[in-house]
Symmetry: C2
Subunit: 509 residues, 2 copies
């Protein structure tokens, strides 16, 4: 595949030398497999996704991040609009009375709520909370707007920032005090409609992870202990980071049941003229998605972006030589980028004359651009370009005449390969256990553990307590919708009671 | 134009009767010309743009608002991307040290800053401010990112919420404690580049007002007294509300000069290898735009939306009769909406069976939908539809065969008519004055006053002081770029000194 010029050209040897010479200062100092935490902190900075900020737990999202976010936003926003879900914007601020209306809910969020108490030099009469999520912000108005069955379903979404003033280990994207997300809040006449939407939204979240970010996820239901505070049940897509052996809750789609409806008096007159209570859902995904992408695909050269979300899918780099027709090379690079752009790819050429080609290779590898195209004198002579894949470094010479179709195929192939490789690694971490000893053994090997469980909350708490250590306790991630057969007589790995279902366990972010 | 069925059909008479009967409860109680403030508060609620919130000065932006915002956002975001301006996202929170770095700037904003002092039950070590605008949030990082001339220009934008805890007269969209906006922040090597961009962005703001919102604006420069705190000069687009005789600063594009660069040490090595300071701009428009649109176009029946920003451009309403083929009418309505949607219009049909056609007319008039299409038995028989314009109530029968092209023409015509009508009204309010007496007389008649001015800050302050009254003082709105000839010897209307330029004066929001 790599064409026939690998060993036979002195020009190539020169090129190689030059690269090495100029590559200094661009690499990561930590290796992903040796010191994952350090590697992650470095790669989000060097890949220009994030800049650290002078308030702990807050991060600057740079353009390279925002372009990824906007691609996902474009997809998701269009999909929910097809479902007739409308965008709205509710205030950032919540009054304390409303915030505290749902007891379980506020218990879950209270420690993390940031409070505004002053404006200018004056104290406010009452402190005002900043939304950690908007259930309590929105639902008093649902109560006002919903009168009869014809006002249902009411389906709203908002794209906004939320604040959770956490004190444990801030991590860019994964755990930050302010983050961007969408939050959908819907109300229905019947539980059936709510149940159906929960899964429709969850499927969109699966798409974001699997089809855009090329990350395999498990769809399932959270345990009673892990479900959304105040809700009826929570579904999620769960990702896994092999390097740390930790699960990540990728996005959640909650059925809130009628609990909030009761607290906020969201009633309606049904078709029979009787008073009834609505059934509600809420669902969200956040910029956390981007952190998971970095963790799953990144390598020791930097970020690796799936083509579908990359701001730049193809970077064209001129490789001029002393005696070569530099002007012509630049022209062809420009034309190549133009052809690709006009064919619908996100392509750019890097014409900066103060950097060597080798420096540029490293730079764009660090930023994770899926495909690099190099054009030098030999390529001109052969009417070809050289394409180099970011994911596996494979090189291929592409005849100019078939540029567009081969780039298209390559990008599709990269997208699929990233998913396949991630899935293979993830699957290799899954371990089925049936006993407590197998469980602790698997946990010590950073496995994603699938175990038969009695489904009792006390047992989950007990597992948490028994596995508590420096690097965190094990907990349930989800009970997958796709349940393996549970043989009769199977016992819970932890309690020895009859098992009710298979559940994924592990440490998590 | 209205076709031949105005007076000759008993079906029509019935229709009329029915409408009146069911229209109760939908109208506005205040008239725009009688009690503008009341009318405005009512129309933003009844038109379903806004819901009042339990924290004063905060408002819920409902889907009808967000769809308008998203249209403008789509336009502006695409245009700035063409200019190679990249989106980013900086934190909501600012540390006090950074916030206070630029003295003039913080003086301008300090009284309105909201402070977070607590999280959960704990006091924060240092209070943290919520961004009123992001100059001081961003520029420490500009200083870090900008090293050499090749790092310039640096051109970033963000779509976000900001908070200004104002105490004077909160008004939906126009003056709210939290609002949505975009803020662009750019840095250049030279003043020339900065100057050029200021005007390019101002032209985009003109487009938003004139071409999207159908509102005439005046481009010009703010006075020293009214310019952005800490900046070099401010340009703006100024709109005018004839009913209140108040100007509205529509959007601003500031050249910050090198003032912030000095404070935040944003230096670079220029092409000659010398240390130099960047030139900066910042520019913003906000959800205020939507308030101006409501004020300018709305009438006693409700909102009037320009077609280009309306979520629904055409509403199709079935007008069934007792003896008519209702099923066929509904089918044709559905097909009509479908044809229009497929032709790229935002069209919907209202099939609700618990509302009369007349109620629906009023409902969609309240919401400001530009064009209504009614389809009844007679329309079926004649293979036509009846179209009714929101802006001037004109009715026209459109043969089904030319539906798409006539709707296209009608919407274009409505867009233009709204602009023309608004411009005519605005222009009728402009009054040229040359003396103090003429000035106070014009002010009492709610005019938009164009006067020769000596351009001295003390004189402006003096005018403010002398016109201070219950309904607010007069101030400069802008000095229009489009300057009428200033005859030699012309004196300032207020100071009697030689006039330097023509300037617009008035009360303002």
């Amino acid at each position: 595949m790599a064409g026939g010029r690998a060993n036979n050209s002195s020009a190539n040897a020169n090129r190689k030398k030059k690269e090495v010479k100029k590559e200094t200062g661009l690499g990561l100092s930590a290796k992903k497999d040796d010191n994952f935490g350090e590697w992650y902190s470095e790669v989000v900075i060097s890949g220009e996704l994030i800049e650290y900020y002078d308030i702990s737990g807050c991060y600057i999202l740079r353009p390279w991040t925002m372009s990824i976010w906007e691609v996902m936003q474009g997809f998701f926003d269009a999909e929910i609009k097809k479902m007739n879900i409308k965008n709205c914007y509710f205030p950032l601020f919540v009054s304390p009375g409303v915030l505290q209306k749902e007891k379980d809910h506020i218990e879950g969020f209270a420690p993390e709520v940031a409070w505004v108490t002053k404006s200018g030099q004056s104290d406010l009469e009452v402190p005002i909370a900043i939304r950690p999520t908007s259930e309590t912000v929105m639902y008093p108005y649902y109560s006002k707007w919903i009168r009869g069955h014809r006002d249902l379903p009411l389906k709203l979404n908002q794209w906004c920032n939320v604040v959770r003033w956490e004190f444990s280990n801030p991590t860019p994207f994964i755990r930050s005090r302010e983050f961007l997300w969408q939050e959908g809040h819907t109300a229905f006449s019947t539980k059936e409609e709510a149940d159906k939407e929960v899964l429709e939204i969850l499927e969109l979240y699966r798409c974001i992870y699997e089809e855009y970010l090329a990350i395999p996820v498990i769809k399932g239901k959270k345990s009673e202990h892990e479900k959304f505070a105040g809700g009826l049940y929570t579904t999620s897509v769960e990702a896994f980071i092999p390097n740390t052996g930790r699960g990540v809750q990728g996005a959640t789609s909650h059925c809130l049941g009628q609990n909030f409806a009761k607290m906020f008096e969201i009633n309606f007159e049904n078709e029979k003229g009787e008073k009834a209570m609505v059934w509600q859902n809420s669902w969200a995904y956040s910029t956390r998605t981007i952190g998971v992408m970095v963790m799953v695909h990144g390598d020791d050269k930097g970020l690796v972006l799936p083509p579908k979300v990359a701001a730049v899918q193809v970077i064209v780099i001129p490789v001029p030589y002393k005696d070569a027709d530099t002007e012509r090379i630049l022209e062809v690079c420009k034309a190549t980028a133009k052809t690709l752009t006009e064919s619908g790819f996100r392509a750019e050429a890097d014409f900066r004359d103060n950097y060597s080609p080798g420096w540029k290779y490293s730079h764009w590898e660090m930023k994770g651009v899926p495909l690099r195209i190099e054009i030098g004198p030999k390529d001109l002579a052969n009417e070809q370009v050289r394409a180099v894949r970011r994911d596996n470094s494979a090189k291929v010479d592409i005849p100019m005449v078939s540029l567009v179709e081969q780039v298209k195929d390559l990008l599709a192939n990269i997208q699929q390969s990233l998913f396949d490789a991630a899935k293979q690694k993830r699957d290799a971490c899954i371990q089925v256990v049936k006993t407590w000893d197998e469980f602790t053994e698997a946990l010590s090997h950073k496995k994603l553990i699938l175990a038969p469980w009695c489904n009792e909350e006390e047992v989950e708490k007990d597992v948490k307590a028994r596995t508590k250590g420096e690097i965190g306790a094990a907990k349930t991630l989800c009970s997958p919708f796709d349940q393996p057969a549970l043989d009769e007589g199977t016992l819970c790995f932890a309690s020895g009671k009859p098992a009710k279902k298979w559940t994924y366990w592990g440490r998590s972010y």
